[in-house]
């Protein structure tokens, strides 16, 4: 009979395994981030700052003077290791969310959680590719949520603040609760040991605004 800590370890590893099935890597030629499979027909969500200037919808940089670099391509690497081209469906620098589309079907979507109901103290996991380490996980707890948190940038925006480290390569990757349900996408650090995620209800609102369709299975905001 496994002791309590061993049971806890198994539970944690199960959550990470489950979340990794919906985790992708988003590459922009130089540098990369993470992304989360939102819809089985190829809809990926990530941070706007991960895709940067890929905004023309064809997976190419916006032409800015004569500096277009055609060798840079936007691609997504799926959990099975295959890499496919991606295009930006919509991007919102202010909310720091982007929606990507890839030509794929029957992808394992992530379950959605409730970022408005989560309480300080609850256990959470960030899964991504920190410093390029594929599928790496970190655990921490929710510090607090909302738009009135100390020393946050863009203070009118809502954040999910977490006591874990968000590193380059984590951006756009899933933050999940103890049942592996998406609470937000990991976005930035707000101190040496404290990370912040864009809450899933902000992402749902973004998708509704930009793509026009209400998000199936998500409580309307």
């Amino acid at each position: 009979m496994a002791n309590l800590l061993e049971q806890l370890n198994n539970d944690m590893a199960d959550v990470v395994d489950q979340v990794r099935r919906s985790l992708v890597q988003v590459s922009v030629g130089i540098g990369n981030g993470a992304g989360t499979i939102w819809h089985s027909d190829g809809l990926i969500v990530t941070n706007a700052h991960v895709v940067g200037d890929f905004v023309d919808g064809r997976g190419r940089r916006r032409q800015r003077g004569q500096t277009q670099d055609a060798s840079r391509e936007l691609t997504v690497t799926l959990p099975d290791g295959s890499t496919v081209p991606a295009r930006v469906l919509a991007s919102d620098a202010e909310r720091d969310v982007a929606a990507l589309s890839i030509d794929a079907h029957d992808l394992p979507t992530i379950q959605l959680g409730d970022s408005r109901a989560i309480q300080p103290g609850e256990w959470v996991f960030a899964v991504g590719h920190p410093w390029g380490v594929r599928g790496a996980a970190s655990a921490g707890i929710v510090v607090g949520t909302g738009a009135e948190l100390p020393e946050m940038p863009f203070n009118e925006r809502e954040w999910l603040v977490i006591s874990l480290k968000v590193r380059p390569g984590n951006s756009g990757g899933p933050l999940v609760d103890v049942r592996g349900r998406l609470l937000g996408i990991n976005t930035l650090m707000t101190g040496p040991q404290i990370g912040a995620a864009v809450p899933v209800h902000t992402i749902a609102a973004f998708l509704k605004d930009k793509l026009g369709t209400p998000v199936v299975g998500f409580p309307s905001s």
Binding site: V15, G121, P150, V161, S163
Partner: protein, 297 residues
């Protein structure tokens, strides 16, 4: 599936919600507010000295969302503690951890309330030890170091155990690791501040510097150094007790005196007015004498 993890997560959130009732916001500096601990139901609040940057115009934000004015009762920079009093009643006081079962590796939570809501970070007890002296000469009854992240505004807030019981007050000012001023020290300092408005400190009235002892004394006393008396203030407790320029103080009140820190530690407030045994080297001879401690003004 995932029962242990789900239960753990729910238990942590419950602990934060419950213990958060005893955590208040302290508005006593220009930038971000900090946190404080409800010490008594009738409005005594303990917080960190370094977050109380002004003596007046202090506001406390209660767990129920109310804001109430508070006055400064006193502060002890040596332990980085301050006591405030708010005109209110019916506050929730946290239960206390006895420290008896506390071990390195136990889960602990740091709580804060720099805004409206309680916030929390999680960690484990990293190190436990006996009493230590802060760089400003304050005695801290236990060494309690954790790896909890100190989120902005967490200074002055509580460290609680897994059951939400108070272990002490978190400060980021004394060392650059997450340190907690344990409840026995809070008891001592708060009671002194409530009674006297300050923490009493003993006083001798000497200037001294550590010197290496002659070989014979090193072997006899089992210590390498003592304190050479380089000046004696007029009318000071040291002068009245007969300490002279050139004496080397090697022991006081039963404790060895090797460095200035040793002496500072032996000059605790509860020794004021008492005649205590001292050992000095004078003229190449070891002498015993009595020294009566005064009070630092």
């Amino acid at each position: 599936m995932a029962d242990v993890l789900v239960n753990l997560s729910n238990a942590l959130a419950d602990t934060v919600a419950q213990a958060g009732q005893g955590v208040v916001r302290i508005e006593a500096r220009r930038r971000l507010p900090a946190s404080g601990i409800v010490w008594s139901a009738d409005g005594v609040i303990v917080t960190a000295h370094h977050v109380v940057e002004r003596d007046d115009n202090i506001t406390i934000g209660l767990a129920n969302g109310e804001s109430v004015p508070a006055t400064l009762v006193g502060r002890d920079p040596s332990t980085d503690l301050a006591v405030l009093r708010a005109q209110t009643n019916g506050l929730t006081v946290l239960g206390r951890d006895s420290f008896d079962g506390l071990r390195v590796g136990h889960l602990v939570l740091a709580l804060g309330r720099p805004g409206k809501d309680v916030l929390s970070t999680l960690g484990i007890v990293s190190a436990l030890g006996d009493s230590w002296k802060s760089s400003m000469g304050g005695t801290v009854d236990r060494y309690l170091q954790t790896d909890v992240a100190m989120y902005p505004g967490f200074s002055g807030g509580p460290l609680v155990d897994a059951a939400g019981k108070l272990l002490g007050l978190n400060t980021s000012a004394l060392r650059d690791v997450s340190l907690t001023i344990p409840t026995p020290t809070l008891d001592r300092v708060v009671s002194s501040l409530l009674t006297h408005g300050k923490v009493k400190q003993g006083y001798l009235g000497i200037g001294a510097q550590p010197v290496r002892l002659p070989t014979a004394f090193r072997e006899q006393l089992g210590q390498e150094t003592g304190l050479l008396v380089a000046s004696v203030e007029t009318d000071s407790p040291a002068e009245k007790s007969g300490l002279l320029l050139g004496d080397t103080l090697v022991a006081f009140d039963g404790g060895a005196v090797r460095h200035m820190d040793d002496l500072a530690g032996l000059l605790a407030g509860d020794k004021i007015g008492k005649a205590l045994p001292a050992k000095i080297i004078r003229g190449g001879q070891l002498h015993d004498m009595q020294v009566t401690i005064g009070e630092r003004a």
